[in-house]
Symmetry: C2
Subunit: 310 residues, 2 copies
């Protein structure tokens, strides 16, 4: 509770305690904390009626621009770091010895459950772009503690094309362009062809753009490739590698995920080489071993019917 | 800052400090506090990805149902007590001697700038309803400190009809039914005919209804009549009287605004009498003497063009 004596100290408890006996216990905890923090915020900054009404109109504008394939509130949460924080709360693993697996980052709104399985060594590039730089991406997947290879894990990769757009944002791309699922082999190895990633801007024609502008921040995300790695015995991770450490508009850059792209001269199919070792932790180390990643915008898109292609 | 040591203590400052040099100072204060409270909330309840995504979809749903004449986020703020709190922060007057004028309550989304001036003693009932109970409402407007009458103040009254609906929610009511502006006379007196107010429910077909349901709370507002009282020398107040002290879905009931309706036998035009003394404080006592009430939904309606009548 904020303690500005000018204001009635009983008001916030009165509002929180208005919840009836049939409120589920978890909802009571979440809403009680949320209401208290919102009230404390208003008292702390002495929010004026005009500022409050600006906030009201801002929140109304979030839903107005959202569609089954544009989740503006998800984006706003990314801009204020909330998705990164929720991911840390749900998924951070540190053993007693201080060991951690490869870091998770946010799933983001562009994962799809529909990426096809491909064979190791295949390319995920279905629709080549003239300026795309083909990269041979490879690595070994190992156990965080023993270093033993992890066999038969599924590596689900997705990335934007050389124009900074994902398949379902861009009518020139076929479905599942730059998406694919691969299985690690008996040595824990994985390898495929993809593009050197391209930095892109968050859409700035909606409330997220308004917010970034007020905050004098860049809408750019550093170039990155998403992965989700799953295995029955191991805690799922969804890192995204990153070739540089620029400020990220969604606060998803982590030190251990920054990688080097090196020239490749021995392969006619690629000009760059990227080695990406990944470690996973057994499920017993995970604080919530059965937690699933949040539903993505793409699942909303599927539910809304497949006609709605941007 | 919450202090759960499991989480990175540097993350929230990192997000807040990402604001650039061109952020207006007030925006930096407001957004810094808001982001910190949202992060603290998430850590405090250990918000899960699924719970966060429920919140994301809830916020998207607020804007989806809002229209120029339905401000759902305003309503959500009322349900969590935020408008009442913002009003307290902006308008609470307590002198060194402990004197306070008649309490303010929230303006609510139904005030209109267009109410016509009427003569003292007139009725605001343009469209009579068979079950409406006509009330002679009267009182004296006085100075909080001296008790002297306040002459020439504008008393702007608005209320829902006997069916619980305001004029612009209800096609059977003419514009400005149950709205009117009156001036206090040379004795500070005011008097007019109106209805005994009718309790009504907030609209429950949108996110506010979802929230009230989760919180196991009633959507009903106690019966009330709104007033806004303005005078060049005095701080504007907008009390709303109230015949009983039921729990209010928007937390706007205040003790000094609870009034009695008494039988009236000496007037063929009314069956009830309601005496409503009002005191006002000179502007010098107001913490923000030039602050205006927030823009109402009705002003949004006017801006959006007058065709859009529900």
């Amino acid at each position: 509770m904020s303690t500005n004596a000018r204001f009635d100290p009983n008001f916030t408890p009165y509002v929180v305690n208005a919840m009836g006996p049939n409120t589920p216990e978890r909802a009571r905890v979440i809403l009680g904390s949320l209401i208290t923090h919102i009230h404390d915020f208003a008292r702390e900054v002495e929010l004026t009626p005009a500022e409050w009404m600006m906030g009201v109109e801002f929140i109304n504008s979030i839903g107005k621009i959202s569609t089954p394939i544009r989740n503006e509130c998800h984006r706003i949460c990314d801009v204020i770091g909330l998705e990164s924080l929720v991911d840390e709360i749900a998924n951070k693993i540190v053993t007693e010895k201080g060991e951690s697996p490869t870091s998770n980052v946010i799933l983001g709104p562009f994962w799809s459950p529909n990426a096809p399985f491909r064979a190791l060594g295949d390319s995920i590039i279905q629709d080549p772009k003239p300026n795309g730089k083909v990269t041979y991406m490879h690595g070994v997947l190992t156990d965080m503690e023993t270093g033993a290879p992890i066999v038969g894990a599924v590596l689900d990769i997705w990335q934007a094309s050389a124009n900074g757009q994902y398949d379902f944002q861009d009518p020139t791309q076929s479905e599942n362009n730059l998406r694919g699922k691969f299985r690690s082999n008996e040595k824990g190895e994985f390898y495929w062809y993809c593009y050197h990633p391209t930095p892109y801007s968050l859409p700035t024609d909606g409330p997220a753009g308004v917010l970034l502008n007020i905050m004098d921040r860049s809408p750019m995300r550093p170039a990155h490739i998403h992965l989700m790695v799953t295995h029955p015995d191991y805690a799922t991770i969804y890192p995204s590698d990153d070739p540089h450490l620029d400020i990220d508009s969604v606060f998803a850059v982590k030190d251990d995920l920054v990688v080097d792209f090196n020239p490749k001269t021995d392969d006619p199919k690629a000009t760059l080489d990227m080695n990406y070792p990944i470690t996973m932790a057994l499920k017993k180390h995970h604080p919530n071993p059965n937690s699933a990643p949040p539903v993505s915008s793409f699942e909303r898109f599927n539910k809304a019917g497949s006609q709605q292609k941007l």
